[in-house]
Amino acid sequence: MPRLPRDRGELPERLMARASVPPEYRRVAVFGGVYSNVPALAATLDDARARGVEAVFCLGDVGGFGPHPDRAVALLRERGVVTIQGNYDAAVADGAPDCRCGYTDPRDNHFARLSYAYTVAHTSTEHRRWLGALPPRLRLRLGTLTAVLCHGSPRAVSEFLWESTTPDGMLRTMLDEARADVLLCTHSGIKWQRALGDGRHAVNVGVIGRPENDGHRNVWYTVLTAAGGDLGVEFVAVDYDYEALARDMEAERLPAEFVETIRTGWWTTCLEVLPSKERARGRF
């Protein structure tokens, strides 16, 4: 079983990115979009450990939305989670004027600005440096399959891969370009998976920072189990103390709309990027 280096001077991501032969695993946990949700992050890591995974991967967007972004970065580092860079992480590290979330809608951008300003103001210089050093992509072996891990898509960090707007042909093209059998992504906030019928797979691993717009308050991460060329994909629901998070958000004077999402499980903002199928499943 491969051993992951802990945070002792050199980042595990750097070691992995430098390795000429991608490390091989049989059972891993993968999630995205922490969004500063420390109670959900802690619950996810405990759950993943109990399931006997060999390594845990975070596909980026550590901050945003929730309170105290520094705490999420500290926990990821402390627990040796291999993290790649999301658009939010790159923006916070660079001191960019906005989060580069890819919204075009004025209302979405209004809330994105509030969230981004709070996160930038509450992320330490040291953590910004750490976020800035994260790799944009990683490759690893799952059994005999080669997986590419990215935030949005292998070609653009802010590309939304929704289940209903990601056709098979596009996935095959992306996997061809990435020379990979498995595509792992996040960014959109709603999990899905698809076997392409040729032994290849695409998995949007979901996010643990906020519920996925279905009226339930839990969040989701993914456990991947490889046996030779077969890949098992299990989406795992994580319950956590959402009320504690909501109270923390209120204490930090984060937008009431964000808190409502945590308490109800329905998205109230950043809705305009949703395609019609995903939008119709939500309340707003």
Partner: protein
């Protein structure tokens, strides 16, 4: 010196299915569509199907049906079904032909498809009088009826509006007025897309094309011609804004043969470059 933009990857394919045949004659129409003697012909079913198949094979993300008014095409529902079986599909309409029966058919199509069907309904002002001054009498009521009809059936449409005051709305005021209009009409999931006015068709204003100097530092990464193509009965074009303009026609009659770099030689290119606007849904 004219800048050229290479295709990054083919992502969106626009199909000008009814050419410039439309039942409205809007004062700002970017391709001067109208009800009489369309200068660009509607497309044959087989031609459309070939382009959809090619788009899927080339790894495109989505197709858009536009015109003219797509719902004037006698086979539009069959074509949407054909496309939706292969790719996420959007249809842009003025809403006037989205009757109860058509709304039922669209909802049924959307429910059975694995990919999303998006319906974009054009409206230009949140007030009836201002809108109908641009789009013609009765257009406001019929568009709003189409939006509420589709939303009520669980197929939330996207209201698409052009902002006549500025290249891109930055203060959100038109957006807020449109949002209030939709909420007041009982729309449960208001969706709005704003577009700038492009200086082509009936809105041509003599603006010069950009030169290569303008391209440096502009929104090059977001330019539609870097990841889109438009097809008409007449050939393939770099983007839907330029579709049908003889001087903008690309070499090659199929998508496979029209994937080379394109030149930013048109006044409309300046709008994309300066505003970063995208005709796509999001």
């Amino acid at each position: 010196m004219i800048a050229t933009i290479p295709l990054r990857s083919l992502s969106a394919v626009w199909i000008q299915v009814t050419g410039t045949w439309c039942n409205l004659q809007c004062t700002h129409c970017l391709n001067a569509s109208g009800p009489r003697d369309p200068w660009l012909a509607p497309m044959a079913v087989a031609r459309v199907e070939c382009h959809v198949v090619d788009a899927a094979r080339l790894g495109a993300r989505e197709v858009y049906f536009t015109g003219g008014e797509p719902f004037l095409h006698p086979r539009i529902l069959d074509l949407l079904a054909f496309a939706l079986a292969r790719l996420p599909t959007t249809v842009l309409t003025n809403g006037t032909r989205v009757t109860e029966r058509v709304a039922d058919r669209l909802t049924d199509l959307a429910a059975r498809a694995r990919y999303s069907l998006e319906v974009r309904v054009s409206l230009d002002a949140p007030e009836r009088e201002a809108n109908d001054r641009v789009r013609g009498r009765g257009a406001f009521d019929r568009a709003l009826a189409a939006i509420t009809r589709l939303d009520a059936r669980g197929l939330p449409p996207i209201l698409t509006a052009t902002d006549p005051r500025d290249a891109v709305v930055r203060d959100g005021s038109l957006y807020e007025r449109l949002r209030r209009l939709l909420l007041a009409a009982g729309v449960a999931r208001p969706r709005i897309k704003l577009l700038p006015i492009f200086p082509v068709g009936r809105s041509a204003d003599g603006m010069p094309p950009p030169d290569a100097v303008d391209v440096d530092g502009g929104n090059v990464g977001r330019l539609p011609c870097a990841d889109s193509r438009a097809v008409t009965a007449d050939g393939v074009y770099a983007c839907p804004i330029l579709a049908g303009l003889p001087e903008a026609r690309l070499d090659g009659d199929t998508l496979d043969h029209a994937l080379g770099p394109v030149a930013l030689r048109h006044a409309a290119c300046r709008v994309c470059l300066e505003t970063g606007a995208s005709c796509r849904n999001a």
